[in-house]
Symmetry: C2
Subunit: 308 residues, 2 copies
């Protein structure tokens, strides 16, 4: 847990051993660290974010980049995109930060019909998109099981779960996942109020709410916010709220102001090697490799897109 603890330094003896074992690598791949896996990745292992489905939430402290998940919540993604195009969130705020749970943003006056911001062309209610059919969905399954779901893995860069019996799939509430807050009515969460997970994965929310995407950059801007002192972590005073400067679709932002990112494809051999590198840590610090990994412990690497 010191600086040296996480180095990937290899001793000379180990390097010799690795070189010697290279010819039989196909049968018994030598263990690699995550950094070695990423360093050996090919350009085709990465995919750019789609500007049509990427949100920028600009705060005074910096930009939060959210990749939307229209494959899981198409109506919500479309409604959120409509809201972003109408500049719905500009001047609204982060209202709630509950420790070990969520940061949540939206209209402070949402409960007051006479004061709340109009939704314009966006819809005020939406059918629940809490699960979808698993058929046709890419799914890279993890090998080590899960407490909450029969199967877990990754679907096009998002942590997901599925149930072979019901034929359903859903996004999992891991750290940095974004959902559409709702009231008790399942149709009451049209995406106007969004939250990001900032603590231990609250997987009990799975299948109860529309998960709409993932924060791929800027999580620390949300996770390090002061916790709210009110019930459920709501800020008690309006001045405590964190103003949102603007939320934009990346496609609507001029190219020079875009944050161009790539996500590691989760259906590649490189990602499989990354998962293995995290199931069994191979640096000098770890003495007992776990040999297993939980869904929400697998990093989904993001990097700046190479300039062209």
């Amino acid at each position: 847990m010191r600086a040296t603890a996480w180095s990937t330094a290899l001793s000379a003896a180990m390097l010799v051993a690795l070189a010697a074992s290279a010819p039989s690598a196909a049968e018994a791949p030598r263990p690699r660290t995550m950094q070695e896996v990423l360093d050996a990745s090919k350009p085709s292992d990465w995919r750019p974010l789609d500007p049509a489905h990427t949100l920028y939430m600009d705060l005074a402290a910096g930009r939060v980049v959210i990749e939307l998940a229209p494959a899981f919540a198409p109506l919500h993604a479309a409604n959120i995109e409509t809201l972003a195009r109408a500049h719905y969130w500009d001047g609204l705020a982060i209202l709630r930060v509950q420790d070990d749970f969520v940061a949540q943003w939206g209209d402070p006056e949402a409960e007051h019909a006479d004061k709340r911001r109009p939704l314009g062309e966006a819809r005020a209610t939406l059918p629940p998109e809490f699960t979808r059919t698993a058929a046709g969905l890419p799914f890279t399954r993890l090998p080590d099981g899960d407490v909450y779901a029969p199967e877990v893995g990754f679907s096009d860069g998002f942590p997901a779960a599925r149930d072979p019996r019901s034929g359903e799939a859903w996004l999992a509430h891991c750290y940095s996942m974004v959902g559409a807050g709702r009231d008790n009515d399942v149709q009451s969460g049209p995406g106007t109020e969004l939250y990001a997970v900032i603590g231990q994965a609250p997987r009990q929310l799975d299948r109860n709410i529309a998960v709409v995407g993932r924060v791929v950059q800027g999580m620390e801007l949300l996770a390090a916010l002061p916790r709210g002192g009110g019930a459920l972590g709501f800020y008690e005073q309006p001045r405590q709220r964190v103003p949102i400067l603007r939320v934009r679709l990346a496609a609507d932002v001029p190219a020079p102001q875009r944050t161009n990112l790539e996500v590691l494809r989760t259906d590649t051999a490189t990602f499989a090697a990354l998962v293995e590198s995290r199931r069994n840590r191979r640096d000098d610090w770890y003495k007992v490799p776990a040999g297993r990994i939980g869904l929400c412990n697998v990093p989904i690497p993001v990097r700046a897109a190479p300039s062209r």
Copy 2:
């Protein structure tokens, strides 16, 4: 995910139904919310923190209260108590805050033999206390399995795991757990440098490091700190570090300045009911109860000790 989402309101019809079912409660206990379980708890369901094994870390923003776990790491707990009695941490700092991982504190000059703070009567190295024998350990097992360990549950208020084959038990790296940072040498973590988990449980650390306790109050003071910009979340500039005013054993603090807390006993019927209330949420918001719960999703309630 709004204020109403987490209410425990019961409809009149439900109250009637509950009253009607009361006589057969022993056979089929009616579902209760966590708040109802806690409201019905008895004084004997709670135990006070032991002042001899409780640390106060006072920051400018407030107090972090840590319950040590001598049952799992007796040498580390004793060494930490020796360090606290010597006021070792006074004027040292939080050095590292890595998003979704840990906040870590200690001596910024620990690597410089000529500048670092002397340890006094405390030991500079300790044998690893990464696991212990499971024999003789109280253990309230959870029913829903775990990705990382054969069995998980709670031992006297701490999340723990055990392996019937090896006969070993260990504390689990859930949110708010505190460990003793070390270098690659397994004896290099004597408790001078401590960390608390501030994100998704890094269970791969289990059995690789001495877990020494749990933050029972003040987690938000650590989890909301700015993340460090350096490698591994270390602060790059000394001025960014968060000063520690003092660390004291509760037993060494005059009674009026103590933070008197009680922890719900985890070997009680009340705790079992609490676990069940979290496996299957019963408020109006949840539509699909998970029916299961992960080790690090179970809250371990703490409350102010009633005045006597």
